[in-house]
């Protein structure tokens, strides 16, 4: 199902396909006309995608078919061994992680995991973790430290689960602990915002030496809908909230919240996952190479300085 702003493009694409089919079956030469339409399509795409509103980008970030953490691992890594559980309370399918090889070297990976259909989404609680999911992430951080391997976190959550069960088991506590644990990693830590970066639930695995973000991902303190519900008292004002929150990749790069924007193909990663993942691979590879040169102490200090500098205020 196309997103709202994708509809004209999809319609034009299907018209072109129809004409091509007709030309092929009838033998009528329509190559000039088709070429013209293709140019028109290219223009329409670049106009649409060059001027995406923030709210449209949020929709791309949530688009079905957008690569999830497990897709990224499957495509960019080998030898993945999924590890489960927090050794304390439970296994949380909203967070996945384990060991894998990236470009031949062992890394520890973790990420929020959305479902690819409704059934899987229910099982994975729409990638909204409970405390045990974050404790699993912390266990994987321990492992990265233990074996001196880089830690890579993929962020893709609307937020930590806001429910009774999560509060009972210390959602706030575990998010704080996970932030602290990740800050203490003595190995290179990279966080990549894949799709949605919803608040503390995202930041819990976001304390990288470098924070990368896919071009159409969003990352902020609150979702546009919740923000609109509070400030405009109307969740339908989400588009306005998205604008106000400056939650897109270019915004965040300007604010220093992220370090690098990973380009997506026209229309977003869901329209061409392979291309998006190739860009992600390159960015990851370059980032890990850069961080690989730093000692554990330098990595700690680098991470401290990175987050220490964030915020804007006036000296009194």
């Amino acid at each position: 199902m196309p997103l709202e702003f994708e509809k004209p493009i999809e319609e034009l694409e299907s018209k072109i396909a129809e004409l091509e089919g007709f030309a092929a079956s009838s033998g009528v030469d329509l190559s000039d006309e088709i070429r013209g339409l293709r140019e028109r399509l290219a223009r329409l795409k670049s106009e649409t995608f060059a001027n995406l509103s923030r709210w449209e980008r949020v929709q791309i970030a949530r688009a079905p078919g957008r690569p999830t953490t497990l897709d990224v691992i499957a495509q960019l890594m080998t030898d993945f061994v999924e590890l489960s559980g927090d050794r304390t309370f439970g296994e949380d399918a909203a967070v996945v992680g384990g060991l894998a090889r990236f470009e031949g070297s062992t890394v520890v990976v973790v990420g929020h995991q959305k479902g690819r259909d409704t059934k899987e989404n229910i099982r994975r609680n729409f990638a909204m973790p409970h405390p045990e999911g974050y404790r699993k992430a912390m266990r994987l951080m321990d492992m990265a430290d233990r074996f001196g391997r880089p830690f890579i976190a993929f962020i893709d959550t609307p937020g930590a689960y806001p429910g009774i069960s999560a509060e009972e088991r210390g959602q706030a506590w575990v998010i704080a602990q996970s932030i602290q644990r990740m800050a203490r990693l003595r190995v290179p830590a990279v966080a990549v915002v894949l799709g949605e970066g919803g608040s503390g639930g995202a930041l819990a695995i976001g304390v990288g030496n470098r924070v990368l973000i896919m071009e159409n991902a969003w990352y902020s303190v609150i979702s546009p809908e919740s923000c609109a519900a509070i400030l405009w008292r109307d969740a339908r004002e989400a588009a306005k909230a998205a604008e106000a929150l400056k939650l897109t990749a270019p915004d965040l790069l300007a604010l220093g919240v992220v370090d690098r924007v990973i380009p997506e193909p026209d229309g977003g990663a869901h329209r061409n996952p392979q291309a998006a993942l190739a860009n992600l691979k390159q960015a990851l590879s370059e980032t890990l190479a850069e961080l690989g040169a730093l000692s554990p102490e330098a990595l700690l200090e680098d991470r401290y300085r990175r987050f220490r500098g964030l915020g804007q205020f006036l000296e009194g």
């Binding site: 930590a160 689960y161 806001p162 429910g163 009774i164 999560a166 509060e167 009972e168 088991r169 210390g170 959602q171 706030a172 506590w173 998010i175 704080a176 602990q177 932030i179 602290q180 800050a183 203490r184 608040s199 503390g200 930041l203 976001g206 304390v207 990352y219 902020s220 303190v221 609150i222 919740s226 923000c227 509070i230 400030l231 405009w232 306005k240 909230a241 106000a244 929150l245 400056k246 939650l247 915004d251 965040l252 604010l255 919240v257 991470r303 401290y304 987050f307 220490r308 964030l310 915020g311 804007q312 205020f313 006036l314 000296e315 009194g316």
Partner: protein, 282 residues
């Protein structure tokens, strides 16, 4: 603080009503309390021990040894995102500043507590519900760094609706910044005591407030990550009695003690005395 704001607003509206200014009503037991008595009782209802919200300045009076407090907070907020909702963020800031009588939702500085050299940081609910933006994050971070440099303990009184929406991702980053700063205390073995008061939710609970060596909560305080309204929307049911209250948190292993405000200073001083490097041996 709710009471103070109420009175200030009434004065601002020019209503000359003497009686309501002298008396307050306990929101729990409805008792009429003479305002001076309430203040002397540290804003705890003398009838039912309900803990009313306490102004930030009174918190400092209560916790710092008399005459020892020297304010160091001084940053002012700005508008990094050009945030506009139903009104521009700078307009809101002006109103908050007028209402709270300070530049942002925090006040703090050097002091001694039970004789222990400390940095005391107190959030102010009167300013935008104690929300955390860049200024709160930076002041907390500076306070912690200063404590590490000067071998002081850290005591933070939390009260907050969470991270401040109008600074969006920058507010979120304050959770990481303050958390990272805490590690600077470690090498010097300096203690950090967190006091959770009504309400402490969102990004403040989920960062520095939850990471103290010792965590005290005030009786009845609402404490959690998600706010009760959000949870109610999620589960579409009423929340159980006592959910997210201090006593609930104690039962679920998240806080060390629920401490009556009238014992709080003594309790904090005792912990600092036990843990501050200059005092571990007597």
């Amino acid at each position: 603080m709710a009471l103070e704001r109420l009175f200030r607003r009434r004065r601002a509206q020019g209503e000359a009503r003497d009686i309501p200014e002298l008396w307050a009503k306990c929101p729990k037991c409805d008792a009429q309390i003479y305002k001076k008595d309430l203040e002397h009782n540290l804003y705890v209802c003398p009838k039912c021990s309900h803990h009313l919200r306490m102004p930030a300045s009174k918190r400092i009076e209560m916790l710092a040894d008399p005459g020892s407090f020297e304010e160091t907070t001084r940053l002012r907020p700005t508008d990094p995102l050009g945030f506009v909702d139903t009104e521009p963020y700078p307009k809101r800031l002006e109103r908050y500043q007028r209402e709270a009588g300070r530049p942002d939702a925090i006040v703090g500085g050097r002091c001694t507590i039970g004789g222990v050299p400390s940095i005391l940081l107190v959030m102010d609910y009167a300013f935008a519900g104690g929300s955390m933006g860049s200024v709160v994050g930076e002041e907390i971070t500076r306070g912690i760094e200063q404590a590490a440099q000067e071998e002081r303990a850290v005591v933070i009184v939390a009260v907050s609706g969470g991270a401040r929406m109008q600074e969006a991702a920058l507010s979120l980053m304050q959770m990481a910044k303050t958390t990272l700063a805490l590690d600077r205390l470690w090498a010097r073995r300096l203690p950090y005591v967190s006091i959770l008061t009504d309400p402490t939710t969102g990004g403040v609970t989920a960062s520095f407030a939850a990471l103290a060596d010792v965590i005290f909560a005030e009786p009845g305080a609402l404490i959690g990550f998600a706010g009760p309204r959000v949870i109610k929307q999620t589960i579409r049911q009423e929340l159980p009695e006592g959910f997210q209250r201090a006593e609930f948190l104690l039962k679920h292993g998240m806080v060390d003690q629920v401490v009556d405000r009238r014992r709080l200073k003594a309790q904090v001083a005792q912990v600092l005395g036990l843990l501050h490097p200059a005092r571990v041996r007597l």
